[in-house]
Symmetry: C2
Subunit: 412 residues, 2 copies
């Protein structure tokens, strides 16, 4: 067959029994003729256990040491999975991020992969071994252990698939594919057989947490065929594709939402060149990721500026911007973490008018007030009060008829 | 002051509270002007927890992966201790064995240190940092993680002290020094202020488990001043010295015992040149350490050969020797793990006759039958039935008057 990189998350390796089940799955794949590289996370609960140990000795543990601590989680899993493989007669070898070596920058706890030396992996595959790699972790140029942040194991898997030019990167999760929306919110949400990487990117970044956004970015950049499938059930999952010309696209692929964001508004700042950079500079310097950014039209030389960040960075961001308010000449700084972002995503909307209109009308019909709007080529996002999450998402799922199989997909 | 390498074992760092107490101790030492390098073990219980995880996925886990797994134990401790130091305003940095780097051979689970690159440690000390190093672990020339075997953290500490030319290597344990015998067996055993490295080596190898034998070997080889002291009580502990000329030695330093050994006897083998190598070759090839070796005089061209190994290697050794018995031409192979080795140790016995006689007479007076005898310049060991451990050790402690302060030591 081919070279497959598989990734199993914390729930899939949460007990030694589950690790043994993963080993059986891997052996079946190798016995079917595949070359198999597998990336694993820490056993579920382990990362939190380690973090609580850290907090009991330091109220604000230094990030360099947090990474030394957390990276032990995956190291335990790779050792156990390799032992389980050897036990059932499947030759295997395991590597930490530093050993592979997955070279990253030095942004502890949020490091970015810069290079992978896949040589030793190729040698092991050539010798018929399954190669087990610790996800989520790497090493910087000084030899310090780094981590990629939560969910970083997906990124490790895709980066390895790219470096090895794998035939497919398979992400095993606790869901059996990508859905038109979150089935917990929309009971008749439908599994998609295929989705374009652009749509997936929007869905992922907007809070349909099947995959980590950086993993999808990587996959898109290196054109790694990516498949999301279930650790616990058989099934084809959802294949993430690169747009094929001439293929008829469904109008809309899905409705995503994200309740993990908070918004910060800077009111009445002078509308001078570079004001956005002045506001967001200190935020970026603190390695805080900004999502939506909106600047209203200027009135009497003053403008209002609103952006969203992850809720965990909310207080920190608010403090930073407030301490900067006088220098900026801002009249006021507001924050609100009682919001949800709802997004309509689909590559088809590029060639169809009226999507935005349908979206705004549907929300209006339900009496939901829109606080922010942001658009891209293939998505429209709105921020509304958090309590409207379920109502808004269900109404939009119905309005765009996502419960029905689209004609284009049936033909493919 | 000077450069001190301190080592804290698993019990001393068994909880986050104890890790914080160790941090305070280290800060006090640094505040007093010392350059401090600290070596730590896994939190007590952690190694066993990890081993039982391993056994649940593989009945005979491969050693390479066992080392990947076990090395996470110390990695957790170094991260937590460094965090605890930073919390109390004491700059610190931590390193795994691979990071330092502690280069070893590739004998997984029993690796031996070959070289240490102490450069980064010197840089950190120069910058005023306490340097926290994971004990027990290293890295081989292929980048694979190795461990030194149980108790290897002592060896790490001494090897670092040698590489850094430290002024003292301080081993913190749950006892407050080296005693004339085990206080649990001999209630009036006495703490020694000083002991020579040769005596310590014999006491350590004979089962007074204050220090790991390889650590003491290393210390002797590189003349590292070694001090054993308590993690939990104040006190000077016991300094391990290199023999000073002209110093009057006490006759006997202590009575050691070891109930962790088992004996294997090969009966009636042809007394030909090379027979010992033929018997012990396969045992050495299996990386099993042999302690006592005795060959009786030849009778009618046949000889009997007896040796002892650690109890954990007993069955394996017996199987090896038995499978080899036919090739050896041996009449029979016996094993017995119901034994204890009792040893009288002291550099003074070199210049005093009669120590052996006193020892054998004392045991005889108690009705204890001696199964094996082995002697060196500074010790006499006997193997007796295990049930005589307490009786034999107490009788010898009394016979050599070890409860009394010796004249020579009082003057020093």
């Amino acid at each position: 067959m081919g070279l497959i990189v598989k990734k199993f998350g914390g729930t899939s390796v949460g007990t030694t029994e589950r690790i043994q089940a993963v080993a059986e799955k891997l052996k079946a794949s190798r016995d079917a003729g595949d070359d198999v590289v597998v990336v694993v996370s820490a056993m579920s609960g382990e990362t939190n256990r380690l973090l609580s140990l850290a907090e009991s000795v330091n109220s604000n543990p230094p990030p360099r040491e947090v990474d030394v601590l957390l990276s032990t989680g995956e190291q335990v899993t790779i050792a156990l999975l390799t032992m389980a493989l050897e036990q059932i007669g499947c030759a295997a070898r395991c590597y930490t991020g530093a050993q592979v070596s997955i070279l990253t920058d030095s942004t502890f706890s949020k490091a970015r992969i810069q290079d992978i030396d896949a040589e030793s992996i190729r040698e092991d595959l050539g010798a018929g071994r399954v190669v087990v790699v610790a996800g989520f972790q790497g090493v910087d140029e000084n030899g310090a252990i780094t981590t990629l942040g939560r969910g970083g194991s997906d990124t490790t898997a895709v980066a390895l698939a790219a470096a090895l030019e794998a035939d497919e990167c398979q992400i095993y999760t606790d869901v059996d594919g990508v859905y038109t929306s979150d089935p917990r919110v929309v009971p008749n949400a439908r599994r998609l057989d295929k989705i374009t990487v652009d749509e997936m990117l929007e869905l992922s970044s907007l809070g349909s947490k099947v995959l980590q956004i950086r993993a999808v970015e990587f996959a898109g950049k290196y054109r790694v065929p990516l498949r999301v499938l279930s650790s616990f059930e058989e099934g084809p999952g959802t294949l993430i594709t690169y747009e094929e010309e001439g293929m008829e696209e469904p109008l809309i692929s899905g409705i995503a939402f994200n309740r993990e964001e908070a918004k910060v508004s800077v009111i009445g700042v002078p509308d001078t060149p570079g004001i956005a950079a002045k506001i967001l500079g200190p935020v970026a310097d603190a390695s805080i990721e900004v999502d939506m950014i909106i600047q209203n039209i200027s009135q009497q030389g003053l403008t209002d500026f609103t952006f969203t960040v992850h809720k965990r960075d909310f207080q920190n961001t608010l403090d930073l911007v407030r301490s900067n308010a006088e220098v900026l000449g801002a009249r006021d700084v507001y924050g609100d973490d009682n919001i949800v972002k709802i997004s309509v995503v689909g590559v088809g909307m590029r060639s169809h008018a009226g999507v935005a209109n349908t979206m705004f009308q549907t929300l209006s019909d339900e009496g939901i007030n829109i606080q922010m709007i942001s658009t891209s080529e293939i998505k429209i996002s709105v921020v509304v009060e958090e309590k409207y999450l379920e109502l808004g998402v269900r109404a939009l799922h119905k309005a765009f008829e996502l419960n029905k199989e689209p004609v284009a997909e049936q033909e493919s």
